[in-house]
């Protein structure tokens, strides 16, 4: 309760929480408010916003309802952001814990692999991966996670290094617990908070990466995403600017919301933020 109270102390955190709550409501309400396929053709093409009551935000190049796409896009954008971040954090935490806890050769090998991933620009990696495997939602998520797990791995390793010499770990060793068990039951949970502090950065980056991939024509064509909407709207940027501005605003607000809320959480748990 106290923590919640602390969270709501800064206006930024409140704003972030509000945006995220709105987003979640949009995502949940999408199938109720706009049942059926959001990519179905609903009216004349390129209808401007506020022209027709049933299509309040207008239509795109094929006559699809922009508002319906926006709501359904919230679902995919959130799904991409959260899943990719979860995957990156999971992989990163496991690799980091293993490296930090095992030390020696395993540490050396795992960290060189981490280095290798970090020296290749993550967007380039995502681009190559998606072009090769073919764009679908799962592949896009995997591609984003592939470039994002190294940060959490490093933080986890550093944290594990400082934890592994502590008393309760030594105690666990004495009572004969299996090293893997110690690593994942005793050490990992304690190393997690600073790793989780990275999640807002990763979620935001994931949403932006998805948009950039869509821009290069590497989004999932069967799903509506905001990035895909912006990418499609850009060819008519001058003629129908609303097509890229509407999802653009949604995207900016979301990334902002994720950041602000994330920061609020970090500050309220008093965990020092570490970007690296």
């Amino acid at each position: 309760m106290k923590r919640l109270h602390r969270f709501f102390q800064t206006p930024e955190a409140i704003a972030g929480a509000l945006i995220l709550a709105l987003l979640v409501i949009m995502a949940l309400a999408a199938p109720l408010l706009f049942p059926g396929d959001p990519q179905a053709i609903a009216g004349p093409a390129l209808l401007s916003p506020f022209q027709h009551w049933s299509l309040p935000l207008g239509t795109d190049r094929l006559g699809r309802d922009v508002l319906a796409e926006l709501f359904h896009g919230a679902r995919t954008s959130l799904a991409v952001g959260l899943t990719a971040a979860a995957a990156a954090l999971l992989v990163g935490a496991v690799v980091g814990t293993m490296a930090g806890f095992a030390g020696g050769l395993i540490d050396e090998v795992l960290m060189r692999i981490t280095d290798a991933f970090q020296t290749v620009p993550s967007f380039l990696l995502a681009l190559a991966f998606v072009s090769i495997v073919g764009p679908s939602l799962g592949v896009v998520i995997a591609a984003i996670a592939l470039g994002a797990w190294t940060g959490p791995a490093r933080v986890a390793r550093a944290e594990v290094l400082s934890i592994r010499e502590r008393d309760y770990v030594a105690g666990a060793r004495v009572i004969g617990m299996h090293p893997l068990e110690i690593a994942f039951r005793e050490v990992l949970p304690n190393a997690l908070p600073p790793v989780l502090a990275l999640s807002s950065v990763i979620v935001a980056a994931a949403i932006l990466t998805e948009a950039a991939l869509s821009f290069l024509g590497l989004g999932d064509p069967n799903r509506v995403t905001w990035g895909g909407m912006i990418a499609e709207g850009r060819t008519v940027l001058r003629t129908a600017p609303f097509l890229s501005i509407v999802p653009g605003i949604a995207l900016v607000l979301t990334v902002l919301g994720v950041y602000l809320a994330g920061e609020g959480v970090v500050e309220s748990t008093a965990v020092r933020r570490s970007l690296s």
Binding site: D37, Q39, A40, I41, A45, L46, R61, L62, G63, S131, I132, G134, P135, S136, G217, L218, G219, D220, P221, N222, R234, T235, V236, L237, R238, T239, A240
Partner: protein
């Protein structure tokens, strides 16, 4: 002037005709062609091999056709739709075994050596026949090229070859390259493939990867007073939206091949100083086609294919996806083709109820979720419009209970998936009609083509009757009889639907008002631009 069909169909028909008139030299505005100046043009792709004798494709021609010339070029009003270039006349023998070309006198290569019949013989036998993507089919029976004198080349064929086909192939397939440069070493490795040498009005000057190609005036060109321009520069603009911006910012003067997105044309036509031109692509018709994998049991059923044809609203496609800059298709030959087209074929008007009925009859009833079966749909990635049509087709199929999942691939992966691995149910393809069905159209439905050949029948369709018809037409010498056979071909294709022809489109150019003599032949964008000029 059947060439105007497409522009008349355009939404901007009124303004298009008005603009078209400025493009015709005879009735043009009171602008006199002016000498000099640099024309800057948008290029959205960077072909690596610039030898049009090996790679006969439009993105290569766009640049190389100014440097390397063909024997003849397409024409709005010339005999058989042709005008002479390096050949002054051509004559086919009655037995279909030889064609005689009389060549232009006094033509010099860019390096000063004279152009002779030996160059034509070399190009035909050493390049077109063994190496060229299209020539390998059309010139497959070419046996020898006799050169009785320096200005006569006689093509000898092992089997009777229709003169009509050779004639129709001239504009795209007959780029002549210099023998003295190509006879040294392997033709494929020749440096001139990247820096072409020809007889054309412009010489190749330089290529900066990722930036530009530059051509300069050939002072020794055979055309009187030609060329007008001093330089042509192709600025590489990879992003689809930048051509429009570059035109408005006056950084380029011409964007061809619909480099300006169709949806932007309405706005850009109102920008002072810019004109939208729908002419000049009549000989470069692209067809929007639904390719069908007949290995799928459902799709092997004619009723299902008919249902799909009925489910597509071709008018919507033309109006919304192509914004009117296209025409609905009835079969494998485009409507405006002056030689072969027939409208007398079975048609499939947009009728969802009928489509549903056909599917019910075929035994594919809707399940409880309203779906009959699922399909994998692969739209070709080369054009915005093919991708958009993919999105539309998915919706159109949903209306008749077919659940299509779109698979987006990049070019290489699409190529492999459709033409080699056959890992598709439906695909959206943009084949090109090149003036004669035998050049690149019959191959779309003919059986027995090995795996991996792009833009060919890879859907496993096999129809012995149709194959026999295609074989017969390919050796019929009489023009009228041959044309009749291809009309029969269109009927059979429309009836049996090995693929579904949806629309035919060509491209739009946007240029500054100062650019003159645009679009004065049916393949203008890929012709030599010798008479193009910059006013004021």
């Amino acid at each position: 002037m059947s060439g105007l069909t497409i522009s008349r169909r355009g939404l901007l028909a009124g303004s298009a005709l008005l603009l078209a008139s400025t493009a015709l030299p005879a009735i043009g505005r009171a602008q006199t062609p002016k000498k000099g100046g640099r024309l800057i043009v948008a290029a959205d792709s960077e072909p690596r091999n610039l030898n049009p004798a090996i790679v006969a494709s439009n993105d290569v021609f766009f640049i190389s056709s100014k440097v390397v010339e063909t024997l003849a070029e397409a024409s709005f009003d010339g005999k058989d739709g042709l005008q002479p270039r390096l050949a002054r006349s051509w004559e086919g023998a009655a037995d279909g075994r030889s064609v005689t070309f009389k060549l232009r006198d006094g033509v010099k290569w860019h390096d000063g050596k004279p152009f002779t019949s030996a160059d034509v013989a070399f190009s035909a036998l050493q390049v077109w026949k063994p190496l060229q993507n299209l020539g390998r089919t059309v010139f497959k029976d070419l046996e020898a090229v006799d050169t009785p004198d320096e200005l006569t080349a006689v093509f000898k064929f092992a089997k009777p070859t229709p003169f009509q086909l050779i004639r129709n192939a001239l504009p795209a397939l007959s780029s002549v390259v210099p023998k003295h440069i190509y006879e040294v070493g392997k033709i494929e490795d020749n440096p001139a493939n990247n820096a072409p040498v020809g007889t054309g009005p412009f010489k190749f000057a330089e290529y900066k990867a990722g930036q530009y190609y530059r051509l300069v005036r050939n002072d020794a060109y055979w055309g009187k007073d030609e060329p007008y321009l001093d330089e042509i520069v192709y600025q590489v603009l990879p992003d689809r939206t930048s051509a429009a911006a570059a035109l408005e910012a006056e950084e380029i003067q011409l964007a061809a091949f619909s480099a300006v997105p169709l949806a932007d044309l309405d706005r850009i036509s109102k920008v002072p100083g810019l004109k939208v031109i729908t002419k000049g692509y009549e000989g470069l018709t692209y067809q929007l086609v639904v390719e069908i994998n007949h290995r799928r049991k459902e799709l092997a059923d004619l009723k299902v294919r008919q249902a799909i044809a009925h489910a597509i609203d071709k008018d919507f496609v033309v109006k919304t996806i192509f914004l009117g800059y296209a025409a609905t298709a009835t079969g494998p030959v485009p409507k405006h083709d002056p030689q072969f087209y027939t409208a007398d074929v079975p048609t499939y008007p947009f009728d969802v109820a009928k489509a549903n009925e056909l599917l019910d009859e075929a035994g594919y009833k809707r399940a409880d979720d309203g779906k009959r079966f699922a399909l994998k749909l692969l739209p070709a990635p080369y054009f915005n419009e093919t991708k958009q049509f993919g999105d539309y087709l998915r919706q159109a199929l949903a209306a008749i209970g077919i659940d299509a999942q779109i698979v987006n691939n990049d070019s290489a992966a699409h190529m492999k998936a459709v033409y080699t691995d056959h890992a598709f149910d439906l695909a959206v393809g943009p084949p090109v009609f090149r003036g004669d069905p035998a050049i690149s159209t019959t191959i779309l439905v003919q059986s027995g083509i090995p795996d991996g050949v792009p833009f060919s029948n890879q859907g496993g369709y096999k129809n012995p009757e149709l194959d026999a018809l295609i074989a017969k037409a390919s050796e019929t010498l009489d023009t009228a009889a041959r044309t009749e056979l291809y009309k029969e071909f269109q009927k059979k294709v429309a009836a049996d639907l090995p693929l579904i022809n949806v629309a035919e489109w060509s491209f739009i150019s946007v240029a500054r008002d100062t650019v003159g003599n645009i679009a004065n032949n049916p393949r203008w964008a890929v012709s030599n631009w010798a008479d193009t000029y910059l006013a004021g």
